[in-house]
Amino acid sequence: MKFTLSWLKEHLDTDADAAKIGEKLTSIGLEVESITDPGAALKNFVVGEVITADRHPNADKLRLCTVSDGKDTLQIVCGAPNARAGIKVVLARPGTVIPASGDVLKLGNIRGVESRGMMCSARELLLGEDHDGIIELKAGAMVGAPVAAALEEAGLLANDPLFDVSITPNRGDAASVFGIARDLAASGLGTLKAEKIQPVAGKFPSSKKITLDFTPENKNACPIFAGRLIRGVKNGPAPQWVQDRLKSVGMKSISALVDATNLISQDRGRPLHVFDADKLSGNLHARMAIDHERVLALDEKTYVLDPDTIVIADDSFARGIAGVMGGMDTGSFGDTVNVFIESAWFDPAHIARTGRKQAIISDARYRFERGVDPQFVLPGLELCTQYILEWCGGEASNVVIAGELPPPHKPIPFDPAFVQKLGGITVPQGEIKRILEALGFVVDSNWLVVPPSWRHDVDGPADLVEEVVRIHGLQGVTSVPLPRTSGVAAPVLSKAQRRTRTARRALAARGFNETVSFSFISRDQAKLFGGGDDARQLSNPIASDLDALRPSVLPSLLAAASRNAARGSANLQLFEIGAAFDSGVPGEQKNVAAAIRAGTGERHWQKSDVASGLFAAKTDLLAALEAITGAPMSAPITQGGPGWYHPGRSGTITMGPKVIAQFGEIHPKVLAAFDLKGPAAGFEIFLDAIPDAKSKGKAKPLFLPSPYQAIERDFAFVVDAKLAASEIVKAVKLADRNLIDGVTVFDVYEGKGVPDGKKSVAVAVRIQPKDATLTEAEIDALAQKIVAATIKLGATLRA
């Protein structure tokens, strides 16, 4: 919402300057986006008077002047041909910033003579291109005064600060200069000039009639519609002051008839429409559109309407989208002679829906959907009549009205103590009453408060508190501490939240860089990870490659790896903790910690392991799981994972019925889809699937070390090459659960000395006696049990 200071002053009697008004607007909830004050940059320039102007002793083209700034007389060297005694000039003294150059003016010495200031040209002040001479102000300019007023008088500066105020959606009443003035007046910044608009007497009966053609369920769409004919107008340009005013807020001046409605819309918040009466067939009707009814609107686009749209129609066709945009065929142009003015009130919800569906942004929609003042339907019509008669001549008919004004708002029972109770601010009752009344509320002796007709956002006591608090000033609210809920603050995180945190710090500590990526990816990428179905598509994506809810966090990481590789960082470790979506239904999402290693690893002068292989990822995964669960991972790991992993180099970890993690090298086809050249491996931890550890109290189990020395024995088994190593480990452990403390695979060999299709798996078995040191015979017996236990796996001891 834009307006100038002078426009505001049409409605508000105030001495406040632009800065003060701006501050007040923001403090009462009309947030100032900007104040453009053309005079602000010139506030340090003053009107000067040239007392003498003589030839410079050392330069023919320069003049040596003495200039009065109202207090002192300054010696100034000037090169302008028009510098002469007696003229009033724009004077800059040392220290002033010259707008054109941005430089601070310094004390000068020109050709051996001191110069204590500068007389400015229009170009130096950014007021025009003129640089042939210095500005000559009008003779009456007051010497020593700031130059803004004198420049305005000289026609060089439109010294009218422009405000741009952002209006919140509840404040349709403030979408007008008058409405803003009313709020400022209530806040004590001036007096509202509220002149009553005098009705214009009709000279003849309107030949056009109006009807409201609604079914009972639609009748609230347009409760009142008024209008009148004006015949014999001459449409030309609007008066200069109207053109200037519209231009000052960035609106185009079109013609007197159109400008009249635009001026009233901006000034009073009352949208109107002026039909060319000769182009209307028969009478006017407000009704709902017929399905697929078409209207060619003033923006020269044809809109196809639905039955939820209100239209203004004549006897033949819909002629305008009510409250949103008028029609082209019946608009007023240069040849218009007879006009019909429409002033109506439309239901904000209908206008909002239509505006949104048709994607029309107009000043009328902006105001109607926020709610205009129904009581201003007739005054607005009268004001428009006055303007047209004054600017275009003609004579007005009587006013025709269909429907009736909506009833006044319901009174709100209000307890003034509620201001303190909800607002935490003490405002005397008299002041509460004054504020409400200044805003147009009617307050009776029992504190029954009726909101004014222009406010549609006030329907309860809390709204009244807001009105009082915003006008009284929020700085009056005193801080009050919240009572403490416990002496020492109690922990607040859930177990799931702690798991997330631990996962994050554990992965970062292992050298992974945390990323945060969009929750939506491209559909093609989603399909590679089991997603990309219709149910997980966005209806209105921001870009076509960000249209699918991600079914996994891995594609985000792989895309990041690809982008980084393109920037020269192919070796990386990334992780992200975030949502993966199982469907498009609320709650059907998982909290996933996913990580990848990509690239062949940094080269090093000593040889190292494969950086982005299966076992690098597995090591990271188990370390993270240990950090998350607080214990070494003992859940079973099975061969194979989902399709985005290498089918032979992936695994799955389950706890009870739930998959808690999957890991592996990324499938080469997936790598190719992400344009990744090097290898990559990664994992996904399903944080919500990890069961909470059973609480056994805070004390740890007693530490009971065995006094007997543990011994280690190695066994090498020849087994089928396809047998999982974990099967051997499990079988060995089960050979004697009491004595065997640990089994570690330390060598796997296939090749010479081992039959084809077989492999040798060597394990170290740690034996921990509990009751007595084992004898050789006992150890031998245990070894026999171990060998026996592996026989069912088809294992033989390697010779």
Binding site: T26, V477, S519, R536, L538, S583
Partner: protein
């Protein structure tokens, strides 16, 4: 007995001259061995008269002790020299690079969230979370934003495709639906913050289609704007880790609060790219807030005649940018390794109130 003295000096010279352990062993055999010269001398003791023995005995023993000691000392010397030689041969160039280990980092969003949680936990606020895909009812309607309310245009909403049951859901435009869920499931007094990802159809230099919010909600008897102001002040002081702050409240509008206000913090932005808080003539927008609307309380099953509450919310990304000087929100989500390493936090820099939120 000049012989013994000269024999001793002769032997000691040989010991000193032994170049390695083998040579030294040869000297030992030649002197202290069964047939060694010193042993031979000691063997003559038995044939001496008691007087001579009394006189010669100490000298012979002295010779034996001196030779033994010299051989032992020489042996240690030779062993040390051998070790020194081995160590010298094992020298490595310590300036060669150590094994490469990537330095992991925590994303600023996560770090700042932990800072925020630490502060609010101290004030007794729990942490509530909810889904990213949300019911229209929770995201809008129960928050007093009916279908045709102009406020829906304030928030450009992402819609998820219609589901099998015909319902269409939204990506939450704020974390307020988590407040709805909290109020539906808990009885007052309520103190929670709800952090999380939020989404709006908006993408330009200062907007990202995904961003993060944290909202605080307090519902109890007798809660008013003064409590809201105190909480915002306490939070800002703790978060920005400065003693002096100045806040300004501006009336505003949100459908779910009444009265509604926005908070600004005094700052100095005269130096481009730099913000100093607590002084200056600029105001920095922090976020919106207000007293929870009566209808919202009702919609969430809380008696508005008994309870009042406040809520306030701000952008986590924005807070991170302000505190740690990141210029562009879009770079938060680009996963540029250089950015992650530059602005990320060390894994063990866990924000705590006792140790300080940041270094």
């Amino acid at each position: 007995m000049a012989d013994i003295a000269s024999l001793q000096s002769e032997i000691l010279a040989t010991v000193a001259g032994a170049a390695d352990e083998a040579a030294l062993e040869a000297v030992r055999v030649a002197t202290l061995g069964k047939k060694g010269s010193v042993s031979a001398l000691l063997a003559t003791m038995g044939s001496l008269s008691p007087d001579e023995r009394k006189f010669q005995g100490p000298k012979f023993n002295g010779l034996r002790d001196a030779v033994t000691e010299a051989i032992t000392a020489r042996k240690v010397r030779l062993a040390d020299a051998a070790l020194d030689a081995r160590l010298a041969s094992e020298t490595l160039d310590v300036t060669l690079p150590s094994r490469f280990e990537n330095s992991g980092t925590v994303h600023p969003i996560s770090q700042v969230l932990e800072e925020v949680v630490a502060i609010f936990a101290e004030l007794g606020f729990g942490v509530a979370e909810g889904p990213d895909v949300e019911f229209d009812d929770y995201n809008f309607t129960r928050l007093n934003i009916p279908p045709d309310h102009p406020a829906r245009q304030m928030q450009d909403t992402f819609y998820v495709a219609a589901q099998a049951d015909g319902d269409s859901h939204v990506l939450r435009t704020h974390t307020s639906p988590v407040q709805v869920r909290t109020m539906l499931n808990a009885k007052p007094p309520i103190r929670v913050i709800s952090p999380g990802r939020t989404y709006r159809v908006d993408s330009d230099a200062t907007h990202s289609p995904m961003f993060h919010q944290v909202e605080a909600l307090v519902v109890d008897e007798g809660i008013h704007l003064g409590h809201l102001k105190w909480t915002v002040e306490q939070f800002c002081k703790a978060f920005f880790e400065i003693d002096q702050i100045e806040l300004r409240a501006r009336p505003s509008f949100f459908p779910f609060t009444e009265p509604s206000l926005e908070w600004d913090m005094r700052c100095d932005r005269r130096t481009p790219g730099k913000i100093t808080f607590g002084t200056g003539n600029d105001w920095l927008e922090l976020g919106g807030s207000g007293m929870v609307h009566r209808k919202v309380l009702e919609n969430c099953g809380i008696d508005p005649t008994k309870y009042q509450g406040f809520a306030f919310g701000f952008g986590l990304d924005r807070m991170a940018m302000l505190k740690y000087g990141m210029p562009d929100i879009r770079s938060f989500f680009e996963s540029d390794l250089r950015w992650l390493k530059h602005y990320g936090f060390q894994p063990l820099d866990i924000p705590t109130l006792d140790g300080g939120l940041s270094r």
